[in-house]
Amino acid sequence: MKLQNPITLLLSLSVLLLSQQSIAAPVEYIFITLWDEYAQQTPLPEPHPNIERRFLHPDINIDKPSVDQFTALFPVYDGLQIDTYNQLAIRYGVRQTPYRLVVEGNQVRQREVLSKLPTVAHSDLPAQDKALQTLSGQPFDPTRPGAGFRVLFFSDSLCPFQHIPNCERRIAQNNRLSANIDYPVVSVIKPFYVDPTQVSAYQQRFNVNHEIVFDSHNQLFRRFEVTDLPYWVVQNRQGKVIYRANQVPPFPL
């Protein structure tokens, strides 16, 4: 057996001790669902001076751009990480949010629910038909398209996101369509989990130069029975739907 010199031995011992210390250092994990935090922020307990706090998001209905957008609005959650494959949630049996754990080594020292479960989904609220208008303040009547055809482009300001496949490409296609036809094109934006600020951000992000309606009560999605996104509907001058698909309408129709 080869003997190591004393300096190497000391260094190895120090590294071993430091690594043991870092494994044993307590960590506080706070699991949150950012979509719930937008609706109501969780009152967080005061951080412990000697315990590192880490924010985690379960790996469901989430992606990096959504995390970045959220932490920019709520800096208190700076450093929020996605718990990839829900590894820590599975290891520590976390099945709800917001939830707090203090872990030391591999032992859970404390665990607590930070508030009650979310109950009602946005679309579970009663349907309402209200007067609609575009972001520029023009009235929008779903039954009166005006002269000629009207294209309704149903979209989502959460784009890019996993439930809206290829949305960036299809928004660009719609912008080209709008620039190339003589009929009005109106983008109709889904209201789930967003507010008018995010719709305006969508307009700027994708350089949308036509009218946009924020369908705040989901009434246009209901009326035209649109469940796929993004999606095109074309009305004739009487308001009758003459085309509907998740493909760009091929003008001339």
Binding site: I60, L117, Q162, A245
Partner: protein, 157 residues
């Protein structure tokens, strides 16, 4: 020309075979519904929908799931899988009763079914053939999903 054609056809066949080989069937789903009935995807064309009561997109589509269930007859079976995260069995039962939904629903208490089918978002629609191989998957209720279901039932949704 003939050689090029043969090479091309061989390539197409190999591509098709590799695509088939990569589409591995999932192990059958064996579970109990919230009504405490056993249910299995084994040997049956199955339409799985992963959902949660807090998911606005999921809840909006529920009438379509009920419609698919009513039209399915013997052509496919519907299994609604509640992902169990931020959910309670009682809450799910209350929700289903409130709207009179009758499709079989499984509560994924530990998240194991969600993991088994590699689901990372709600809603998630998955169509499996009788061997458990995935035929179609989408996040929302798409025209393609509607078409797949209509084909299975011979015309109805």
């Amino acid at each position: 020309m003939e050689t090029i054609m043969k090479t091309y056809l061989t390539g197409i066949v190999l591509l098709a075979l590799s695509a088939t080989a990569s589409a591995k069937p999932y192990p059958p789903l064996q579970a109990r519904t919230v009504a405490d009935q056993p249910i299995s995807s084994s040997g049956k064309v199955t339409y799985l929908k992963f959902w949660a009561t807090w998911c606005a997109y999921c809840v909006e589509e529920m009438p379509l799931l009920q419609q698919a269930f009513e039209n399915s007859q013997e052509s496919y079976q519907v299994i609604a899988v509640n992902v169990g995260f931020n959910q309670t069995v009682e809450g799910v039962k209350t929700y289903l009763n409130r709207y009179g939904y009758q499709f079989p629903t499984v509560f994924d208490a530990t998240g194991s079914i969600t993991r088994q089918y590699l689901v990372t978002g709600t809603p998630q629609h998955i169509l499996l053939d009788a061997s458990g191989t995935e035929i179609y998957r989408s996040a929302l209720f798409t025209d393609e999903l509607r078409q797949h279901l209509a084909t299975l039932t011979g015309g109805k949704l």
